[in-house]
């Protein structure tokens, strides 16, 4: 019996078809602390959180709050026990307005039991004003970007004033500025004695806010210690089971000719006069604050959205990108930031997802060549380290990071020349991140061009040859490797500094 302990899970088991996601898991969270969970993709972190939040029922084991066993059947009960959760897979209701999404499941009511719309509006405005966010409360979620939505989810979870707040990769879709806001919130929460379970693959964050760390591997708890007894290396080696030497496997590569050139690409209200170029073997980065318009540029470039004016040259040939097909035909592919919406086909198998963008490779002369398909899928999934029972498994049952790897594998099968990756390491564990960086380097070595949009400055700085910085829909600057510093990038990103000529 320990009065200090708020939440304890003991001997939790949970299985899914073909996987034992949790195996005799034990750990405890103290009041007023931030307890960080680390572990590779598919280690079972989210599953444990969903068990605590009542979304899954455990096969065995107990959950104790204030050292008293509780039976959490559903999220409502979890909330009444003072638990709230920010989900890893942003699972929002696209047709819902901002104000309603903030109170869904918890609507304020007037004395007749009616929904109190005035109160909702008032609360929303207060909340948004307090956080300095100027959204229109009536905007529908489907019109927002992932980062907006993630911010709203964070606000919502905090607004419940729960005793236990679970944050499953809350920062995967937001930029540094919002991360700071979040950390400040976390400190406020701690100081009122509530506790936070925090899951993240961003190692630097972990060491900034953790009070205690628990490391997961293959559904088991490897170790659990206060922060003082851990250092980065230990955590990583416990997670991955080996040491990682260098964070960024960047190699010096001799650059070839210009492979992609974009000139004055414009789409009114989204971005304006965007120009950049990439050479063979080069990795360029796009930095910027949330809503800077980086995603929008890449979407238009890839043919997902139209563009009004501007020119695109691929291998020095003027190209008109009408749709995604035309850019895939030109061997340019893009990994979207919104995996759920633009990435996976949830009800189909890993195999079908991987083959989707290169069907003609396996279906020719009138039939499907299943052996070849299986071979390719196996090859690329192994290259990406996808953890799954088999390739017939539905992709929706994979962990978030593994889904991301499958989507990357899909694009690798097409053997692209230009690879645009929008937040490529979102939700990916350090080990796998390293694999992805290595893959990028390898691709660069094969004379491919890479465009990396990322909100994680360290990875941009670590991996890119040049970084373009965008602010409010315009390219405000371009830095070469020797000029990279967090400060200089931020100066352009906030728009305080603008280069005259960006080419």
């Amino acid at each position: 019996m320990n009065a200090d302990i708020k939440l304890r899970v003991s001997n939790i088991d949970k299985s899914f078809p073909g996987v034992k996601a949790l195996n005799q898991v034990n750990f405890a969270v103290r009041k007023g602390t931030v307890h960080v969970l680390c572990g590779e993709n598919g280690a079972g972190k989210s599953t444990l959180m969903k068990v605590i939040n009542g979304i899954y029922r455990p096969d065995a084991g107990e959950i104790l709050i204030d050292e008293k066993p509780v039976d959490i059947k559903n999220p409502i009960q979890a909330r009444s026990l003072g638990i709230s959760m920010i989900f890893q897979e942003l699972n929002y209701i696209p047709e819902m307005t901002i104000e309603e999404s903030l109170c869904v499941g918890n609507w304020p009511r007037d004395r007749y039991g009616r929904i109190n719309w005035k109160e909702i509006r008032k609360r929303t405005k207060e909340l948004l004003a307090k956080e300095n966010l100027n959204y229109n409360p009536e905007t529908k979620l489907k019109e927002l970007t992932v980062s907006d939505i993630q911010m709203l989810e964070i606000l919502k979870a905090i607004s419940y004033n729960s005793d236990i707040i679970i944050m499953d990769e809350p920062t995967s879709a937001i930029t540094n500025k919002e991360v700071e806001v979040l950390f400040q919130k976390i400190n406020e929460i701690k100081s009122r004695g509530a506790c936070i379970i925090y899951i993240s693959h961003k190692m630097d964050e972990i060491f900034r806010i953790a009070d205690e760390i628990t490391v997961f591997r293959d559904g088991c708890v490897v170790d659990s210690r206060p922060i003082g007894e851990y250092d980065l290396e230990t955590v990583i080696s416990q997670m991955v089971g080996r040491k990682l030497e260098n964070n960024f496997p960047k190699e010096e590569i001799k650059l070839g000719g210009e492979i992609l050139k974009v000139q004055s690409l414009t789409q009114k209200d989204k971005f304006e006069d965007v120009s950049f170029h990439v050479r063979e073997g080069e990795i360029i980065g796009f930095a910027g604050l949330m809503g800077a318009g980086r995603t929008e540029v890449m979407r238009s470039l890839f043919g997902l959205d139209p563009y009004e004016s501007g020119e695109i040259f691929i291998k020095n040939q003027k190209t008109v990108i009408k749709n995604v097909k035309s850019s895939i035909d030109k061997k340019m592919v893009m990994l979207s930031e919104d995996r759920r919406r633009f990435g996976i086909i949830p009800v189909r198998s890993i195999k079908e997802n991987v083959a989707l963008a290169s069907l003609r490779k396996f279906i020719y002369s009138g039939r499907l060549h299943e052996e070849e398909e299986n071979k390719a899928v196996k090859e690329f999934c192994e290259k990406m380290n996808v953890k799954a029972p088999d390739f017939e498994t539905k992709i929706e049952s994979l962990s978030g990071g593994n889904q991301q790897k499958v989507i990357l594998a899909k694009w690798m099968v097409t053997d692209p020349d230009i690879l645009i990756v929008d937040e490529p390491t979102r939700g990916i564990d350090v080990g796998a991140k390293y694999e992805i960086y290595k893959l990028m380097t390898e691709l660069a070595k094969q004379k491919k061009a890479l465009v990396m949009v990322s909100s994680e400055l360290p990875e941009l700085i670590g991996m890119c040859d040049r970084i373009y910085i965008m602010s409010k829909g315009k390219v405000t600057g371009m830095l070469t490797r020797d000029e990279f510093t967090q400060e200089s990038i931020m100066a352009y990103a906030t728009g305080t500094k603008i280069q005259k000529e960006v080419k």
Partner: protein, 311 residues
């Protein structure tokens, strides 16, 4: 601003445009009697459509509504002839409607049957039960029972009163209650709704129960309007109801729809049918025109909505 209103309320514009067109096309169209006729004529289908709206918003639908209507109607009538009490007969209809829909709800929530299949099964079962109970024979001489559907209160035909009543209830439920907002959340994204602490199964069950009440009321109205207990009556009404809801902007992908939109959808079809009869269009041609206008109305509605986005 105006463009915004026009696009948000585009289906009502279609309705108004159609109304004006009908007015110009035939002088008998705008008369109290004719408009009353149209309203009473669409009442049964529209009451069913309100139930469908609630279900479709929450990502389900009810194929059994017309069959359950028939079962509720014949049982209601035979309870009337047995007891002579209008109140009891009304309650019987509602109970039968609710009972069948509780079964629908159980199949959907407890056994995870897709609503299409669950209500399809109920469609066959309820119709079979209605026919079996009556041995396929219509029940005539229903006496005062006709008051439900053929009476007037303060000069207003009772079906119109039922129509307005159910409209208000549906609107209120959808707009002002936790139940209503939960339905939108469930239809919009069931997992997210569950994660937000909405008891999905309970809300779905309630949606079916409310649908059951509406179906029961529609059953009373229908049987009273056709002046007899017709176990084989109202065939195809579930479809009419779905059509009105969908024309009115309710989306099968869930999470979208309003009671007033459904009413507008029902009136669009009602006006169309009425004007074609008034003008005397060949009845085969009527079907073609009806199909074409429904498609055009929806195409315009969608176009107007995307226009707003594009701006």
């Amino acid at each position: 601003m105006f463009a915004n209103i026009k696009s948000k309320y585009s289906i009502y514009f279609v309705l108004v445009a159609l109304f004006i067109f009908c007015w110009l096309a035939n002088k008998n169209f705008v008369s109290v009697a004719n408009l009353q006729n149209i309203s009473t004529q669409i009442s049964v289908g529209t009451i069913l459509a309100f139930g469908q709206t609630i279900l479709i918003i929450s990502g389900m639908l009810d194929l059994s509504s017309a069959s359950v209507l028939a079962l509720a109607g014949v049982l209601s009538i035979s309870s009337y002839t047995a007891t002579g009490s209008l109140t009891i007969s009304f309650i019987v209809a509602v109970l039968v409607g609710v009972g069948c829909n509780v079964l629908n709800g159980l199949m959907v929530t407890k056994y995870k049957t897709p609503p299409f299949i669950a209500t399809l099964a109920m469609m066959a079962m309820a119709r079979g039960a209605a026919l079996l109970y009556t041995n396929g024979q219509n029940i005539y001489q229903i006496g005062d029972y006709v008051k439900f559907g053929q009476g007037k209160i303060l000069g207003i035909p009772t079906p119109m009163i039922f129509l307005v009543g159910t409209l208000i209830v549906t609107w209120y439920l959808l707009r002002h209650t936790v139940f209503g907002r939960s339905i939108y959340a469930i239809g919009g994204n069931e997992e997210a709704a569950n994660a937000s602490g909405i008891n999905v199964n309970r809300i779905k069950m309630r949606a079916f129960i409310i649908n059951g009440i509406l179906v029961g009321i529609a059953g009373v109205l229908f049987m009273s309007r056709v002046n007899g207990g017709m176990p084989n009556g109202a065939i195809g009404y579930e479809f009419k109801a779905l059509t009105a809801a969908v024309i009115g902007g309710t989306s099968f992908s869930g999470g979208i729809g309003t009671a007033s939109g459904t009413l507008a959808g029902a009136f669009i079809v009602g006006f169309l049918d009425n004007i074609m009869v008034l003008v005397g269009v060949n009845s085969y041609l009527q079907q073609i025109v009806r199909g074409a206008i429904i498609a055009l109305a929806v195409i315009y509605d969608i176009w107007a909505k995307t226009m707003r986005k594009k701006r």
